[in-house]
């Protein structure tokens, strides 16, 4: 095709197109009327597509919004979980501190009540490295006035005795160790007999005649015969009484008064000073704020009203266990005058 002719034709077409549209515009302006037919067609074509497009867009937007919201919630959930974990740790820490404060208050109260008996507060810093031995390490040693065979107690009761002393630490043989024991007596009948460790959490009281009436729940106190512990400190309570037909003695299972497996703070008795009258009762009273298990019956009534003197130890077969200091082993009365906070 001739380019000039084609161009000429295009120009004519342009002029025609413009003229038609100008006339269309002019007619709309003059008559102030819309060209409704064209608009209806255009809208009829585009509107259904627009509805579909809007529906799709809304779906995509809704899906996206839900996805974003879900992700945000997931992130928020993770943050809340992390916060919860932190708070749990914090709570456990605070609970530990509160329990420690309770225990220390209990120790302080006990010491104030028995101000006449020099005692040294110590913290348990370790336990026996072997499963068979029942030993605890304290953060006090010879520099603090701790000596061999000194008694170790808590406000709840007897813990054990000092087995070895080092300058800054000391080793305590717990009452539950097989080699350990303490001179004790039944609170009600004042019958004496040694309480020995068994290697288990429970203890055993020995050499109590079958004639003596012993009932579960009865308190067992220190007799003072071992020259380590003063009289009437709680040792434990009778849990079970067994009778062996071949033996003239009863087998008494004792639950220790002190929580030997949960020791954290203890008191070292620097002298074998007798506690003021009603010592055991005072101990129980002093430990009242602490969480003493309800199952443990109070030793106060028996201790508060002591019976007449028990039969002499000599009449009994070896009332003092081997691990407990013998009579001729001098307690640390002279050395231990220091009462440190």
């Amino acid at each position: 095709m001739n380019p000039g002719r084609s161009q000429h034709r295009s120009l004519i077409l342009l002029a025609a197109a413009l003229a038609i549209q100008v006339l269309l515009l002019a007619s709309q302006i003059k008559r102030d009327q819309d060209v409704r037919l064209i608009r209806v067609w255009a809208v009829e074509i585009v509107a259904p597509l627009g509805r579909s497009a809007t529906w799709i867009m809304d779906g995509i937007r809704g899906g996206w919004t839900s996805y974003v919201a879900l992700r945000r919630m997931g992130q928020e959930n993770q943050e809340l979980r992390a916060t919860l974990d932190r708070l749990k740790l914090r709570n456990a820490e605070l609970e530990g501190r509160a329990a420690e404060a309770d225990r220390l208050a209990e120790l302080l109260s006990f010491r104030q009540i028995h101000a006449e008996a020099p005692m040294l507060a110590a913290r348990v810093i370790g336990s026996s490295p072997s499963a068979s031995g029942r030993i605890a390490f304290l953060d006090r040693g010879s520099r603090d006035g701790v000596g061999l065979n000194m008694g170790v107690i808590t406000p709840e009761g007897v813990v054990g005795k000092v087995l070895a002393v080092y300058p800054a630490t000391s080793q305590v043989l717990l009452l539950s160790d097989k080699e350990s024991g303490v001179g004790a007596l039944l609170a009600r009948s004042r019958t004496q007999g040694p309480v020995r460790g068994t290697g288990d959490p429970l203890l055993g009281m020995e050499y109590v005649s079958k004639e003596v009436k012993v009932s579960p729940g009865e308190a067992i106190l220190t007799s003072g015969q071992d020259r380590i512990f003063p009289k009437d400190l709680p040792v434990g309570t009778v849990l079970e009484v067994k009778s062996d037909p071949r033996s003239p003695f009863q087998q008494i299972v004792v639950r220790p008064a002190a929580h030997l497996d949960q020791l954290e703070e203890v008191l070292v008795l620097l002298t074998r000073h007798e506690f003021a009258p009603g010592g055991a009762a005072d101990i129980r009273a002093a430990s009242a704020p602490a969480s003493t298990p309800a199952a443990r019956p109070p030793a106060a009534p028996a201790a508060a009203a002591p019976r007449p003197a028990a039969p002499p130890p000599a009449a009994r077969p070896s009332a003092v266990p081997a691990a407990v200091a013998p009579a001729d082993e001098a307690p640390a009365d002279e050395a231990a005058v220091k009462d440190q906070p």
Binding site: S10, L13, A17, Q21, L24, L25, R39, G50, A53, R61
Partner: protein, 172 residues
């Protein structure tokens, strides 16, 4: 920049698959109508104008270009509140000029297309405002910041849109 004179070298006339032009025009009108509801910035881009420019430059036929521009413009008028013919006349002129330039120059480089689109946008706006003032007595400004931003945005849009439409061409 790949702008060559027609008499220096043969300029290829691009053809498209059936329905591509119609589909693109309808899609452009559809997006122009509904996209600004969801995306505010879409109002700045005159998609029907870009489609007019693209097909006019590709087809390189002034008659086809002006008719396509007229159809798109009238359809745009129909879907808007403007009197029918306002966009129609503007796009008719743009279609004619774009296809006339396309018939003489080979415009394939993206920057050349971008620049031409910027110029055609202002041509379209100038015609639109002229007719509004002359026939409708509407005091429309020729140039304002919004128009300038819209022209730049539309020109930049060609960098993404035109290569996309290039894929719909029939292989030569």
């Amino acid at each position: 920049m790949d702008i060559r004179l027609a008499n220096e070298q043969h300029i290829e006339v691009h053809k498209f698959y059936a329905g591509v032009v119609t589909g693109s025009v309808i899609l452009a009108l559809l997006l122009e109508t509904f996209l600004p509801i969801h995306l505010g910035w879409a109002e700045l881009i005159d998609l029907p104008l870009l489609v007019t420019i693209y097909f006019a430059l590709s087809r390189r036929n002034p008659s086809a270009g002006l008719l396509l521009g007229m159809a798109i413009g009238v359809a745009q008028d129909s879907l808007s509140h403007t009197p029918i013919g306002l966009y129609g006349i503007s796009k008719t002129i743009v279609g004619f000029v774009a296809s006339s330039i396309g018939a003489r120059l080979d415009v394939e480089h993206p920057l050349a297309r971008c620049l031409l689109t910027f110029l055609f946008f202002h041509l379209h706006n100038a015609v639109f405002v002229f007719i509004s003032r002359l026939l409708l007595a509407r005091p429309e400004p020729y140039l304002e910041t919004r128009v300038l931003i819209a022209s730049v945005a539309s020109a930049l849009m060609t960098l993404a849109l035109f290569p996309l439409l290039d894929r719909l061409r029939k292989p030569s």
